[in-house]
């Protein structure tokens, strides 16, 4: 017993010392607990109490992040790693979650829902807690735990508010797929742990273990691992769940699911690439090859299937699959210390995607569904909305003068630089596929102005422009996208 005493006190000291690292996450956790209490006891008296707690939780976590800049630290025995990259990532996540919170509140304001909306905010807090953890760890165990936290929260978000059969079906599909992938990932992780005896993927011991591991088993483990992460990121061939789920879930939830988890997982991936690609051994080559193939297939699949979509939400689902492929390309070209390119693209992507879904939600409430066909000739009746929506579409394609173009341009530059340094054929292939899918994406994003402005609608339905939270916020984002397109240094110099 005596032998352990000094160790215990040291351990406790270490834990107390490193708890400062987790301040934003602790704030989220406290907000989560408070929101449960409030939704149970106070919601009847004070209508928006849970919503307010969630908003305060996000804001306070955001504020707690600010003093942590320029102070990279490790804590909890290397389980938690904080650097500026993760802080920016978390800021993006918190910002997007906050917007989602407002979005949910506005979306359900005029709807008669049998269930309590208040609980949704608690789950949103939990999801962003998990995502936040994912950005600050390099430990597989913590990665698994945070991915599961996010997944379970997402299942609930999709299923909890299901109003009809289709939405319930989407939720069930999501849970089944998700659990299977989680199990595979866990199995992969256990294999990795068996090879290396260490769960920190940046550690020398882990990499050493991988180098000496038998090739076939190592491949199996890595494949299993990617299956789990791939599910969350919805890259091909693990993307099949996402269109159904995106279409079935309430629009604010879809906006959240299609945007925010990507940021966290991309940050994880870029850390993984940065530490694994350095070696010349089998597993590095395998991971590189896998990621290249996945990026290419994902870009192609996402963009080509999006061509055939009639429903705007499904279209956005495939578009986000395509963008995942593009982000993966960015991650592949991720060079340590060059985080701003990736962060810029993600920030712009968040703005574009959120505002696209805000517009979809607004239009859904105006015309009853999200089919592109029903936008026919609405451009004249809803000019404020469709001018903005078309601009967002243009930004999603990546045409100037929008921020989408600058993001694409920076990523192309990154990849090109790597190509001319290494002459690796894979990079060239990525560039070509990236360029071709950009042209392909033009077809479906331009469907928005095509139906809204180019086609004429003979029927005289009375649809009038109203200024709601959704289209005003979306328009604000739209302006931001254009301004960042002309003066990208506004954001890029911040990200330095």
């Amino acid at each position: 017993m005596e032998k352990f005493e000094p160790v215990i006190s040291e351990t406790i000291d270490h834990i107390i010392a490193s708890s400062g690292l987790l301040k934003p996450e602790i704030a989220l956790a406290i907000a989560f607990l408070l929101s449960i209490i409030s939704s149970l006891f106070f919601e009847k008296k004070f209508k928006n109490s849970t919503f307010l707690i969630a908003v305060l939780g996000f804001i306070s976590a955001f504020i707690l992040l600010i003093p942590q800049f320029n102070d990279p630290q490790e804590g909890f025995f290397g389980m938690i790693r904080r650097d500026d990259f993760s802080i920016y990532g978390r800021m993006l996540i918190l910002f997007a979650s906050l917007v989602t919170g407002f979005f949910i509140q506005q979306h359900f304001k005029h709807k008669a829902i049998k269930r309590k909306i208040a609980d949704v905010y608690s789950i949103l807090l939990a999801a962003s807690f998990g995502l936040s953890l994912l950005t600050i760890t390099t430990n597989w165990l913590l990665v698994f735990i945070s991915i599961e936290t996010v997944s379970i929260a997402s299942y609930v978000l999709v299923g909890y508010l299901s109003e009809n059969k289709k939405q319930s079906e989407a939720a069930v599909k999501y849970v089944l797929f998700g659990s299977a992938c989680a199990a595979m990932m866990l199995y992969g992780l256990s294999l990795l742990y068996g090879f290396t005896g260490n769960l920190d993927f940046t550690s020398a011991m882990h990499i050493q273990g991988l180098i000496s591991a038998p090739k076939i088993l190592c491949s199996v483990a890595i494949l299993f691992l990617f299956a789990g992460i791939g599910f969350k990121l919805s890259f091909a061939p693990f993307h099949v769940w996402s269109p159904d789920v995106y279409e079935g879930a309430p629009t604010p939830i879809t906006a959240f699911l299609s945007t925010v988890p990507k940021i966290a997982v991309m940050i994880l991936f870029s850390r993984l690439c940065a530490s694994w690609f350095e070696t010349f051994f089998y597993f590095s080559e395998l991971t590189f090859l896998l990621l290249v193939v996945i990026a290419i297939v994902t870009m192609v699949v996402g963009n080509f299937i999006a061509l055939r979509q009639e429903n705007m939400k499904r279209l956005m689902a495939y578009s986000s699959i395509g963008h995942t492929g593009f982000l993966l390309m960015a991650v592949l070209a991720f060079v340590q210390g060059n985080t701003d390119v990736l962060l810029f693209y993600m920030a712009v992507y968040v703005l574009m995607n959120l505002s696209a879904f805000l517009y979809i939600d607004y239009l859904e409430s105006k015309i009853g569904d999200a089919n592109i066909q029903s936008f026919m000739g609405l451009g004249k009746k809803l000019p404020f909305t469709f001018v903005g929506f078309s601009l967002i579409g243009i930004s999603l394609i990546g045409l100037p003068p929008t921020a989408g173009f600058i993001g694409k341009f920076l990523i192309f530059s990154n990849v090109f630089e790597l190509y001319s340094e290494s002459s690796e054929f894979a990079y060239l292939l990525l560039l070509i596929v990236g360029a071709i899918t950009t042209v392909v994406s033009l077809f479906y994003y331009l469907k928005i102005p095509l139906y809204a402005f180019l086609k004429e609608n003979k029927s005289d339905s009375v649809i009038k422009e109203t200024f709601t939270f959704q289209n005003c916020l979306a328009f604000l984002f739209c302006i931001a996208v254009v301004i960042l397109g002309i003066f990208p240094s506004l954001l890029l110099s911040l990200l330095k």
Partner: protein, 534 residues
């Protein structure tokens, strides 16, 4: 703010003004647009007057005039180095005539838009935005800036064709967009590649400055587009050749060359008359301008090797376009294909790489600019009146519309290269240049000059045959009496638009030095730049 910036920002200001004025004053939009277009014309006319034709331009800043350079983007991108993008504009003998041409054609297009009645606000705002983008393309000396204007130009055109166009407008609009974007996305990749290969000698940072890209000394050794000892290749083709081919295709789509021309008949036919005028008068010239300004100047070594093929493409475009024009039954389609044929001379002239050839190509661009604009305008005149332009539905129009017939006949004769008109000078110089090219050893064969002459012959055939079919003989119209009443002769406004173009064509045909003097020094410099690699 310099005078070029004023030229560039005038239409943008007009665009914002139109957007700001409420729709209840919608009748004022066309006057605003016309006023600003006229102002722009005056500014460019002043520029032309002030322009010193003896300056060489092309690859040295000192040879450019009215230069403005402001840092626009300065970003430290870590391992990618400092990102250096400038607001860098200036003009030389290559861009000056085209800028003046653009403002004239723009003025014509606004004049032709007088009867547009559908969503006026959007229409004139987009027109003005398009005008900004066009001027921007011609003045930009920074590749990044050029690219931005090049892409921004697409959006207004997409909407102008798509909303105000004819029956198959959606198809034509997207086809036009896809063709151009396909070229320009790959152009983006080449641009990025050039960026990493070129160093600004003054600051040591990578740069998008086109003039630095033209100097082989600025290339980093071992970079992707390095001029010396470049070992990169893509699918077995040397890197610099790949860069050249990609840029050439991107611009050749605009010119357009056969077989990348198929967007053009659709876009021209479906577009409303003013947009057809802009497409034929200005847009096609952007292709030729891009090839001269970027392809040949930045990749002269690759250009020299690819020369014979480019000449061949020019010849094929001339002959194929002419044969197609011969077979058309729709007047607008006929003129669209005649554009393909006439722009083939531009390609051939550039490929000849002789001073005569390139001057001829430039002159052909200017001449074709307002002649094709006049032709499309005249098709619009008929179409406005009876909503038909099928050649066989008209006969003996000369008795109904004598003034119109006179204008059209002059425009036809001018276009087919009758001596005394501008097209003759352009085509003759191209053919002389091509013929002489063998002496200089640029790789162009003599028979290409011959093929060019056959193209001129064919153009005489299709123009005269059309004139005969539609205008001479007994009056016989498909619409009968109704059409005969509707087909009134040219109005004052229409004559006001047509007369200057015909007059200009005649003036330049008699005094080609008006244009040649301004660009000669630049063309000589360009030929010198390219021929060091022969």
């Amino acid at each position: 703010m310099g005078i070029l910036s004023i030229l560039l920002l005038l239409p943008l200001f007009a665009c914002l003004l139109i957007l700001a004025i409420p729709s209840s004053y919608r009748n004022s939009y066309k006057y605003i647009a016309l006023g600003f277009a006229f102002l722009q014309f005056l500014v460019s006319g002043y520029l032309y007057w002030q322009f010193d034709g003896s300056q060489t331009g092309i690859n040295s800043v000192s040879g450019y005039q009215f230069v403005e350079q402001l840092p626009w983007l300065r970003l430290d991108l870590g391992s990618l180095g400092q990102l250096e993008i400038d607001y860098f504009i200036g003009i030389d003998g290559i861009s000056m005539p085209l800028i003046l041409l653009s403002t004239i054609v723009m003025l014509m297009a606004i004049g032709a838009s007088w009867n547009i009645s559908k969503s006026l606000k959007g229409y004139f705002a987009l027109m003005m935005l398009l005008s900004t983008a066009i001027i921007g393309i011609f003045v930009a000396l920074d590749f990044f800036l050029f690219y931005i204007f090049y892409e921004v130009m697409l959006l207004p055109l997409y909407f102008l064709i798509g909303i105000w166009g004819g029956a198959r407008r959606e198809y034509a609009a997207i086809k036009f967009f896809i063709y151009t974007l396909f070229g320009s996305v790959f152009m983006l990749l080449v641009m990025v590649g050039l960026y990493f290969s070129v160093i600004n000698p003054d600051t040591g940072a990578h740069t998008f400055n086109m003039l630095h890209m033209m100097n082989p000394a600025n290339y980093v050794d071992g970079s992707f587009f390095a001029t010396a000892a470049n070992s990169f290749d893509v699918f077995g083709i040397p890197a610099r050749m790949v860069g050249f081919i990609i840029l050439f295709i991107a611009f050749a789509i605009k010119i357009p060359i056969v077989p990348l021309h198929t967007w053009l008949p659709d876009a021209h036919v479906e577009a409303p008359t003013p947009v057809s005028i802009i497409l034929a008068g200005i847009l096609l010239k952007i292709g030729g301008y891009g090839i001269i300004r970027i392809c040949y100047s930045v990749f002269p070594d690759a250009a020299v090797q690819a020369n014979w093929w480019i000449g061949l493409i020019g010849v094929v475009s001339i002959i194929y376009g002419a044969l197609n024009a011969l077979a058309q039954k729709d007047l607008k389609r006929m003129i669209a294909y005649s554009s393909v044929s006439h722009m083939g001379f531009v390609t051939l002239g550039i490929a000849s790489m002789t001073v005569e050839g390139i001057s001829g190509a430039m002159f052909q661009m200017v001449s074709h600019g307002f002649l094709s604009a006049a032709l499309f305008f005249m098709v619009g005149v008929i179409y406005d009146r009876v909503h038909d332009r099928y050649i066989y539905n008209f006969r003996g129009l000369a008795t109904l519309m004598p003034k119109f017939t006179a204008y059209l006949a002059i425009a036809f004769f001018a276009s087919l290269g009758l001596p005394g008109f501008s097209a003759f000078i352009g085509e003759a110089f191209v053919i002389i240049g091509t013929f002489n090219a063998e002496l200089v050893g640029t790789g162009i064969s003599r028979w290409m000059a011959l093929a060019g002459s056959i193209g001129i012959l064919l153009s005489a055939v299709y123009f005269l045959w059309t004139l005969q079919r539609m205008f001479f003989g007994q009056t016989r119209l498909k619409g009968g009496e109704e059409w005969a009443v509707a087909l009134t002769d040219l109005s004052k406004r229409e004559q006001l638009i047509l007369f200057p173009t015909i007059a200009l064509s005649l003036l330049l045909g008699i005094m080609p030095s008006l244009v040649f003097d301004q660009m000669n020094a630049a063309v000589v410099n360009l030929v010198a730049l390219v021929s060091t690699h022969l």
